[in-house]
């Protein structure tokens, strides 16, 4: 995936020349770039929608970080948060759902991790020692320290 490798030779600033060509229907409005990279990122909303959809789909395989990257990548789609008119109508639902998914997953994971860390043995009993990572590493002989 070359970043901008496929040169969009006929992309027109502000849809000017398309309108001038008499089509009447404005092309994908080019007043904003769909990705956070701006000029160096993806050029059109169609490609962006495809990427966003794939990120959203694969994020369900226990990959919330992919959802976070999705939100970061298409940050311009989230910018007008409560606004109704958005420049990327097809892109936005995926990003919003990715953001929600990431938040939910983070809350769940953080609450589990904090319960584990703070509760310790009082909550879990002797099983705590079997679940802590450095003990697990020691048991599986993955330790590299003496």
């Amino acid at each position: 995936m070359e970043r901008g490798g496929e040169v969009d030779e006929e992309s027109n600033p502000l849809g000017g020349s398309r309108a001038a060509a008499g089509l009447g229907v404005p092309a994908t409005p080019f007043y904003a770039w769909p990705t956070v990279d701006g000029q160096l990122g993806l050029e059109s909303e169609d490609k962006a929608v495809e990427y966003a959809r794939r990120f959203f789909f694969w994020g369900f395989f226990c990959l919330p970080w992919l959802w976070a990257v999705n939100c970061f990548y298409f940050w311009p789609a989230l910018r007008g948060w409560p606004a109704t008119s958005t420049p990327f109508p097809r892109l936005r639902p995926y990003i919003v759902r990715s953001a929600l998914g990431f938040l939910v997953f983070t809350v769940l994971l953080a609450s589990w991790a904090l319960t584990f860390a703070i509760g310790g043995e009082q909550v879990f009993g002797p099983a705590w020692n079997n679940l802590v990572m450095y003990n697990v590493a020691r048991k599986l002989d993955l330790t590299l320290w003496n």
Partner: protein, 414 residues
């Protein structure tokens, strides 16, 4: 549409100093960040404070007992190890060249992603566990696995290039940090011999007409393709003096290419086996493991090249590759790794040597960029910096340290 600027005076177009400085900063900053992280890791995880014993010492037969064998033997063993390493890297680079020649580019890219996933998962996981142990963080294994899984998989996606530039750059720097950290666990003599050997290899491979890196670069130029390697590409400086966002800048690949040399070493698998079985590995396997955890290491190790890619068509200096033109500077991941290994190993002696080596390396990098602007072709980035780094390390250790210590003891300075 272009009337927006008619009323107000437009700012003067950025001069070459602005863009030049920006480009240099954008390449020096990640190199410095990589070095800083490796120094921090070696300082925090030093063997005395609960860090790993140098596991690679058992494997790399530098000397069984460093005090008993003479320095000649140690030197000989170190040189032998580094020679094995260089031979391996040369072989792997030629293999990569062959695969690239046979147009197996897709295979190479997927292999790169796969090997970087393994590096992030195994080396990153190992380092993560070390840090958890060192700081006594009670993280449970489920969260650990989820975090590591996410980290590694998104790393693969980043290497394939489907994520924002910042994420890709961050992941490349992290891969460099991880590989460099594990390299600092080599025995000391081997490390220095290896650095010297890699600098010489880099010089030969890029500048000699028969060098694999030069052939790779020329092949990529003739086909106008990108080399499938782990290369850090600095974000190109985009001019903002136009008012409205216009069409994306025309990008042309490779006017002249510099190559990073990705070697397709499939030693990541070898490394995996090394990691799990600690003893009984031959030095050969170890050098394999050191050398390349697949493409990632390969590019890192054998790559040390600087490249510039022409990114915009400018009226004046269209075809040039140099700092003045609008191009993105590319630095192979191998450069990151070996710079960081040098500074990390210097930091294991004392921070004074680390500072001196850092300054030497940055000076060397600056000189290499200058040569890049002058010669405008692929240049090896390792030799100058490593040479400076080595010279400064030994000078500092032998001369400056004595001086500083004596001054401090006699309350003259510092």
């Amino acid at each position: 549409m272009a009337t927006a600027n008619s009323g107000s005076p437009s700012p003067p177009p950025p001069s070459i100093l602005d863009t030049l400085g920006e480009e240099i900063v954008r390449i020096v900053a990640p190199v410095s960040a990589c070095m800083l992280l490796v120094v921090l890791l070696t300082a925090v995880l030093s063997p005395s404070s609960g860090g790993p014993s140098s596991i690679l010492t058992d494997i790399v037969s530098d000397s069984t007992d460093s005090s008993s064998s003479s320095w000649v033997e140690q030197l000989g063993a170190a040189l032998l190890n580094s020679l094995r390493f260089v031979v391996l890297i040369t072989a792997l680079t030629f293999l990569l060249l062959l695969l690239f020649y046979l147009r197996c580019t897709a295979f190479l890219r997927y292999y790169m992603a796969f090997s970087s996933t393994l590096v992030l998962a195994l080396m990153g996981g190992g380092l993560f566990v070390l840090l958890l142990h060192r700081f006594d963080v009670p993280l449970d294994c489920f969260t650990f696995l989820v975090l590591l899984f996410n980290f590694a998989i998104v790393g693969a996606v980043a290497v394939l290039g489907a994520v924002p530039i910042a994420v890709t750059q961050g992941y490349l720097v992290l891969i460099g940090v991880l590989v460099a950290y594990w390299f600092t666990m080599l025995p000391e003599w081997t490390t220095w011999a290896l650095l010297m050997a890699m600098a010489l290899y880099d010089l030969a491979a890029v500048l000699l007409p028969v060098g694999p890196l030069r052939l790779l670069v020329e092949l990529a130029i003739s086909r106008d393709e990108e080399i499938p390697a782990l290369v850090y590409e600095a974000r190109p400086v985009v001019e903002h003096h136009e008012g409205a966002p216009t069409a994306p800048p025309r990008r042309r690949l490779w006017r002249e290419v510099r190559g990073s040399s990705p070697n397709s070493a499939s030693n990541l698998n070898a490394y995996a086996s090394v990691a799990t079985e600690s003893q009984g590995e031959e030095a050969r396997l170890v050098t394999v493991e050191e050398g390349r955890a697949g493409e990632t290491l390969a590019s890192a190790l054998s790559v040390p090249l600087l490249e510039q890619q022409l990114q915009r068509a400018r009226e004046d200096d269209d075809d040039g590759i140099g700092l003045g033109t609008s191009g993105a500077i590319k630095l192979g991941l191998g450069d990151f790794i070996f710079y960081s290994v040098l500074v990390g190993r210097a930091a294991m002696y004392d921070f004074m040597t680390a500072y001196a080596c850092y300054l030497a390396i940055i000076a060397g990098l600056g000189i290499t960029l200058l040569l890049l602007a002058v010669y405008r072709k692929a240049l090896p980035a390792l030799p100058v910096s490593i040479a400076f780094g080595l010279v400064f390390y030994f000078l500092t250790r032998l001369l400056l340290e004595v001086f500083v210590v004596q001054c401090s003891l006699n309350l003259v300075m510092f």
